[in-house]
């Protein structure tokens, strides 16, 4: 019996050590680079691809602590709370603009990033970083419509189809104000960066009209739901669409004719970074032709480097991942909106999501419930008094 107890104790101790071994094994004296990127957004060595992070460590001997976020806002909240010092972040365009405005980013020393010369001029000096002192593009892509060919037989070429009542209950929509308003504004023919209240209110009305047709407001869940055939239409990112069509050949993707959001995700270094030199070394490494090629082939987004694009399959080069200039001319990149407009957008979006809530019936139900509760209390109080008098 005692023997068994000892074995149990040993086992549990071992488990505890296993939990901490991760932190123990990392040698304390080597410098560690902390990278904060989107989830599923780097070649990680699965399916025979290059493990980019491991390759960096192999070539430079620098350990990397790699962590992921799922929205720009989540990343931002973590940075300004100061809970962690990251060295390289890979946020999207408008968020980079916001962080530059707030003085959160460090100016890069481009003499440490010689590979920057391979980046296309079309991706330099963009709206969010007009003098290009803070960021180096990582990937870009467009938002388009992914649809299921077995459920949608008519040709899809416009955002209007997301408002088509024939597909009621079969449409998914983005669950964040910026992307959803971007689509509604493009549908109306306005700029997705408008701060005009009248245009925004029109978009709000459009989105409220659309709400009756929407199956669900989601973000990353669009991927599994569309692949499983749960919905017929959804807006999504071109890069992921490549993978989704690979998983389910019934799917197809189109960049709508009204134009769309062309996003750029870029590598930046926060001011709080303790290892700016390593960060620049990492950014330069990510622009090495072989690394960038392996990475882009794995994640399926579009590359801002023409030397890398030229080495991709002909088929990929001509796919929706690289729309022609005519379509691109109608696309915009998100810029950081002023605080007032952001607050207005968020409020209007809450209005859209809770639109149609709270009928008279709901309020009646609540009232009846409270009356019932009060009734019980009174009943017991009266009973108590009666008992007292007896």
């Amino acid at each position: 019996m005692k023997m068994r107890k000892t074995v149990c104790l040993l086992c549990s101790l071992l488990t505890c050590f296993a939990l901490f071994s991760d932190s123990v094994s990392a040698a304390p004296e080597t410098r560690t680079l902390r990278v904060f990127n989107w989830g599923e957004y780097i070649s990680d060595g699965s399916d025979g691809s290059m493990d980019v992070i491991q390759e960096f460590t192999r070539r430079t001997g620098i350990q990397v602590d790699y962590q992921v976020f799922s929205t720009n806002e989540e990343m931002y909240a973590k940075i300004i709370s100061g809970s962690a010092d990251y060295d390289v972040l890979i946020p999207s365009d408008y968020m980079i603009g916001k962080m530059i405005d707030e003085g959160l980013l460090a100016k890069l020393d481009f003499s440490n990033i010689p590979n920057y010369r391979y980046v296309d001029d079309a991706f330099k000096n963009l709206e969010y970083d007009p003098t290009n002192e803070y960021s180096v593009p990582y990937t870009w892509g467009t938002v388009g419509i992914i649809y299921n060919k077995t459920k949608v037989t008519e040709p899809v070429d416009s955002w209007d189809i997301l408002w088509d009542s024939n597909y009621a209950g079969q449409i998914l929509m983005f669950n964040n104000p910026r992307d959803s308003y971007g689509i509604a504004l493009k549908k109306l023919g306005y700029s997705q960066n408008t701060t005009n209240r009248d245009e925004l209110d029109q978009a709000t009305d459009e989105l409220k009209k659309q709400k009756l047709l929407i199956q669900a407001y989601v973000m990353d869940e669009i991927f599994p739901k569309m692949t499983a055939g749960e919905a017929a239409l959804a807006p999504y990112y071109a890069g992921d669409a490549v993978t989704m069509i690979g998983d389910n050949p019934d799917l197809d993707f189109v960049v709508p004719k009204e134009g769309t959001n062309r996003f750029v995700d870029a590598m930046v270094v926060p001011k709080s970074s303790p290892n700016k030199d390593l960060a620049e070394q990492f950014i330069n490494f990510m622009l090495e032709e072989d690394v960038a090629l392996a990475n882009i082939e794995y994640i399926g987004y579009s590359t801002p480097m023409s030397n890398v694009k030229a080495r991709l399959d002909e088929e990929v080069q001509n796919s929706f991942s690289y729309p022609d200039d005519e379509v691109l001319s109608r696309c915009e990149t998100f810029v950081n909106l002023d605080e007032e407009t952001t607050a207005y957008l968020q409020d209007s979006w809450t209005g859209v999501l809770s639109y149609g809530d709270s009928s008279i019936g709901d309020i009646l139900f609540l009232a009846v419930f409270f009356l019932f509760l009060i009734g019980i209390v009174i009943y017991f109080t009266v009973k108590k008094h009666r008992n007292h008098t007896i």
Binding site: R178, L345, D357, L366, N387
Partner: protein, 271 residues
Amino acid sequence: MKGKKALALPYVVWSIAFVLIPLALVLFFSFTDKEGNFTFENILKIGKYSSIFVKSINLAVIATLICFLIGYPLAYIISRSREHVQRNMLLLIMLPMWMNFLLRTYGWMTLLENEGIINKLLSLIGLGPFQMINTQGAVVLGMVYNYLPFMVLPLYSILVKIDKSIIEAAQDLGANGFKVLIRILLPMSLPGIISGVTMVFVPSVSTFIISRMLGGGSNMLIGDLIETQFLGGNYNPYLGSALSLVLMVVMLLIMAVMNSLEEDDMEGMLV
């Protein structure tokens, strides 16, 4: 005596650091603006979201009622069965709680979806498909499923203490089953009912992940609204704190009513 008090010190330190100070911060943020000036604006803004409050409380009330209607008979049956049966049944009730909360809720997504398992099975016998996911019903189901053990366990622990002879005495005196329930079981198990209701209602009314996953994003509850203030596009901890504060006040009020019930009844029974 002094030595015993020292034992409470870790908890005192803990609750000051992680309960009192955060609460004070919530209070502080609720009444300040970006510049740190005192303001009532955050609290006044909440009127705009009253429909979300109504919806959250409604869904939580319905979920609590369902939990009670399922949980009470279940707890009674368990408390009256043989000891080893009791142990096994309690284990079965707690078993789902060993699994990750998100995973369990995600599981319901795949069950309820239009192309999900339930609809696929129903289509085999020529029924459906039914719209189940992304409805208020699905949100209530998620709450009931996740919080049912919190109703059953306190009810069980109090029902198991009620002496069988009391029920038998009532029956000998001519009380039928319904009367035994109303006059004996319910009053005697009131403390269990109150803690069960509290433990289901409070997490239900403030949940955000259940409504997000099973409600399809269009069933916005207070929890979602608060989360949006911190992780949404517009970082606004001031409004977020004010919302949390109002939610806390609403919960406290409801709990106060419930607790007054208990005190009244206890005194009534003693007399």
